[in-house]
């Protein structure tokens, strides 16, 4: 299974749209794509997970790493359109207490 990564820039915000599965195989590519935008000063990144059917702990790790960099640079990270399954993953790991997330349908 592949992961399509699409990054659009609108003024100060980087909108990242992901489609596919985020696991041990696709995580390295995702990490590399996100690295440059997270290392800017005060980056604002919004990741749309609407079309992500599956994410494993390696995928969570990518967002943990991303959050650490974004915080260090004084920026903000937001994950949107999480499926109930993904939302549960962020909830169990407690990551929803440090990363701003919203469910599918919410905004």
């Amino acid at each position: 299974m592949n992961l399509e990564i699409d990054i659009k820039r609108e003024k100060k915000v980087s909108y990242v749209h992901l489609k596919g599965e985020i696991d041990a195989y696709t995580a390295p590519a995702l990490k590399n794509k996100l690295a440059p935008i997270s290392e800017e000063s005060e980056p604002f990144i919004e990741v749309n997970l609407k079309d992500v059917e599956y994410m494993d702990s390696t995928g969570l790790g990518v967002f943990v790493g991303l959050l650490k960099t974004v915080r260090k640079q004084g920026g903000k990270l937001k994950l949107t359109n999480l499926s109930p399954r993904l939302e549960r993953l962020f909830h169990i790991t407690g990551l929803d207490s440090i990363i701003e997330i919203s469910r599918k349908g919410e905004d």
């Binding site: 041990a24 995580a27 990490k31 494993d56 702990s57 390696t58 969570l60 790790g61 990518v62 943990v64 790493g65 959050l67 650490k68 960099t69 399954r85 169990i92 790991t93 407690g94 990551l95 207490s97 440090i98």
Partner: protein
């Protein structure tokens, strides 16, 4: 070697046979021959050389132009021959690496060895099976005077990096356990150790519980670990083991909330790694209810047999191909 000696004769026989009969069976002989040739490390250009010689013997008046073309083909095949040699070399290297990893896995197993306490009060069953050679799941029991502690942890990812991390956790745990502190203290300390020593993209989830034999009370805390279950025998009902806390290694300042539960006869505490709940069948993922109904199906058995049966059931559901490390612990209150 015998095969090398009469290889040309054999080839001649097979080729003549094929040209005469043009049957599938005769063609298949060629395929079988190639396996033998590979086994005897005969390079591809050598086969072409033999083909050429045999051709000359079988058809003495073959046009010179066609014979010359074989010199060209030979030249082309030299590259393949080299690739083949490299392949053989890499195969050897791979076998070496595999045996090194196997040794490392044995060392890890010895390092992580934990004795499952034999106590009157609890019937304990444990199974932990890695998806690959090395295990990224970890569990540890420790017995003190009137208490027993149990920890279950899961490192992000699988394989060697995860296994190395687990070793770090094990040593940090060993020194912390001597202090006999409560679960939230242990997790808060571990969190600081992990946060300092781990890659930014990694984290560890852990459940830590402490059982007091005098009060039959289990005190526990969780760092983002897949919730276990509490089976209440008097109600014949499974509850999620409520607990909330951030995974280890992300934020230095985290505090972990502590929870308590009194156990009565035949009550159970079930701990697991996400390799159990992430069991993926052809129809998709199983849900947590599948785990509790599997336990229910084996409820009358001793704890060790329950966990082993569930592992067998779930392994079968996944077509005997574990995608993630699988750890399941059941503690049943005896008296």
């Amino acid at each position: 070697m015998a095969f090398d000696d009469d290889i040309q004769m054999k080839y001649k026989e097979m080729l003549a046979n094929y040209i005469q009969e043009l049957t599938e069976q005769a063609l298949y002989e060629g395929q079988r021959f190639s396996w033998k040739a590979i086994e005897h490390k005969i390079p591809p250009e050598e086969i072409i050389n033999i083909h050429l010689k045999v051709l000359k013997e079988l058809f003495p008046d073959i046009p010179k132009k066609i014979l010359d073309s074989f010199d060209f083909l030979l030249e082309v095949m030299v590259g393949y021959g080299l690739a083949y040699q490299e392949h053989q070399f890499l195969r050897g290297r791979q076998l070496e690496l595999k045996s090194e990893i196997e040794i490392a896995a044995n060392v890890q197993q010895a390092l992580l060895q934990t004795n499952i306490p034999k106590v009157e009060e609890l019937d304990i069953g444990v199974i932990s099976v890695p998806a690959k050679i090395m295990n990224g799941d970890y569990y540890q029991f420790a017995e003190h005077e009137n208490t027993m502690s149990v920890a279950i942890a899961d490192v992000i990812g699988k394989g060697i990096p995860a296994a190395l991390c687990i070793s770090m956790i094990k040593y940090a745990m060993d020194s912390l356990l001597e202090s006999r502190q409560n679960p939230s203290y242990i997790l808060e300390n571990l969190n600081r150790v992990v946060e300092q020593n781990i890659d930014v993209n990694m984290f560890i989830t852990m459940f830590f519980g402490k059982y007091d034999f005098r009060t039959n009370k289990i005190t526990y805390a969780s760092a983002g670990h897949e919730p276990g279950f509490y089976y209440c025998a008097s109600e014949d009902h499974f509850y999620d083991l409520q607990s909330k806390g951030l995974v280890l290694g992300v934020d230095r300042q985290v505090k972990y909330e502590q929870y308590e539960l009194n156990l009565f006869q035949n009550d159970m505490i079930i701990l697991l790694s996400d390799g159990v709940t992430e069991t993926r069948t052809k129809e998709g993922f199983i849900d947590r209810a599948a785990v509790t109904s599997a336990i229910r199906a084996h409820l009358h058995l001793p704890a060790q047999q329950i966990v082993e049966n569930i592992y067998k059931d779930f392994e079968k559901m996944q077509g005997f191909q574990l995608r993630d490390d699988f750890t399941l612990i059941i503690m049943k209150k005896n008296v």
